[in-house]
């Protein structure tokens, strides 16, 4: 199980318009004591960054109305948010290339396994702890 020796929770932004998927992933993130914000579209996610909100990780679905995940990832990176870890998610198993081209750090097919999420969160925690040293 991922743990944070320094104590501050990982701030996660979950971007998904499918309510079931958002509920399941939020619950999984809670298992790792993440502080999770949910956005239903790429635009909502982008607005949060424009408001000055900071996140350690963004978990972003691909297909959403108004603004899809790929466009949101591109625009988040274009804002200068280069440190936040961005993980693309999709039920399309072959979305790796499009997400990586958009600027994501990784792609995980849905549904995301708990052990995969654990490893990703632990990576984020390690990076946070190294930054604080």
């Amino acid at each position: 199980m991922a743990s944070n020796a320094q104590g501050s929770p990982v701030k996660a932004l979950l971007v998904d318009d499918t309510a079931v998927d958002a509920l399941i992933l939020s619950t999984k993130l809670r298992k790792f004591h993440c502080e999770t914000t949910v956005a239903k579209t790429g635009k909502e996610a982008l607005d949060l960054f424009h408001e000055g909100k900071k996140f350690d990780i963004v978990l972003c679905d691909k297909d959403m109305p108004i603004m899809n995940g790929l466009e949101a990832v591109e625009k988040i990176r274009a804002m200068g948010e280069i440190d936040v870890k961005i993980v693309g998610l999709s039920a399309d198993y072959d979305a790796t290339e499009v997400f990586m081209s958009a600027g994501a750090d990784a792609f995980v097919p849905k549904p995301m396994k708990l052990d995969v999420l654990s490893a990703i969160i632990q990576e984020v925690i390690n990076k946070k702890n190294n930054t604080m040293v």
Binding site: D17, T18, A19, V20, D21, L23, I24, T27, K28, R30, K31, D63, P65, S90, A91, K110, P111, K113, L114
Partner: protein, 144 residues
């Protein structure tokens, strides 16, 4: 298995697994339920049933037109595919995969036939989910 779910409910879920209505993804969902998230399974499957009904309604409307926007239809099917994969509703997911093929081929007839199948498999699983939740509630009330 989830400590907070009644054994009879787990038995009901097991029968849905053994008949191929659900797959191992549903078992993983059961494991997420605990004292911190005591209503997780009920909330998840309720959302799935509500979203699924809404999606089937939207698909019916869109395929009722002579001039079908297959991209819009595919978007709805893809969403249901994702949701059904997440809860382990195997037959719904597989039907959505077939549906997406007909969307790619822009075949209205193929889409209409698959929508009929989707209705059958979706209402089969959502009906059983609702029975399962009712059983859980009855058991909870009986032990108060």
């Amino acid at each position: 298995m989830a400590a907070t779910m009644k054994l009879s409910t787990l038995g009901y879920a097991a029968s849905m697994l053994s008949t191929g209505l659900l797959d191992e993804q549903f078992q993983k969902l059961l494991l997420l339920q605990n004292k911190s998230d005591p209503n997780f399974v009920a909330e998840t499957i309720t959302l799935f049933c509500e979203d699924g009904e809404h999606t089937i309604g939207e698909l019916t409307k869109r395929l009722d037109k002579q001039c079908v926007n297959f991209d819009e239809v595919a978007a709805f099917v893809h969403k249901l595919e994702g949701g059904s994969a997440s809860v382990g509703a195997k037959r719904v997911k597989n039907t959505c995969i077939q549906f997406l093929e007909f969307c790619k081929e822009k075949s209205r007839d193929g889409c209409l036939k698959t929508l009929d199948t989707l209705r059958v498999v979706f209402y089969e699983v959502s009906g059983k989910f609702k029975d399962m939740l009712q059983l859980e509630q009855q058991q909870a009330e009986a032990t108060k």
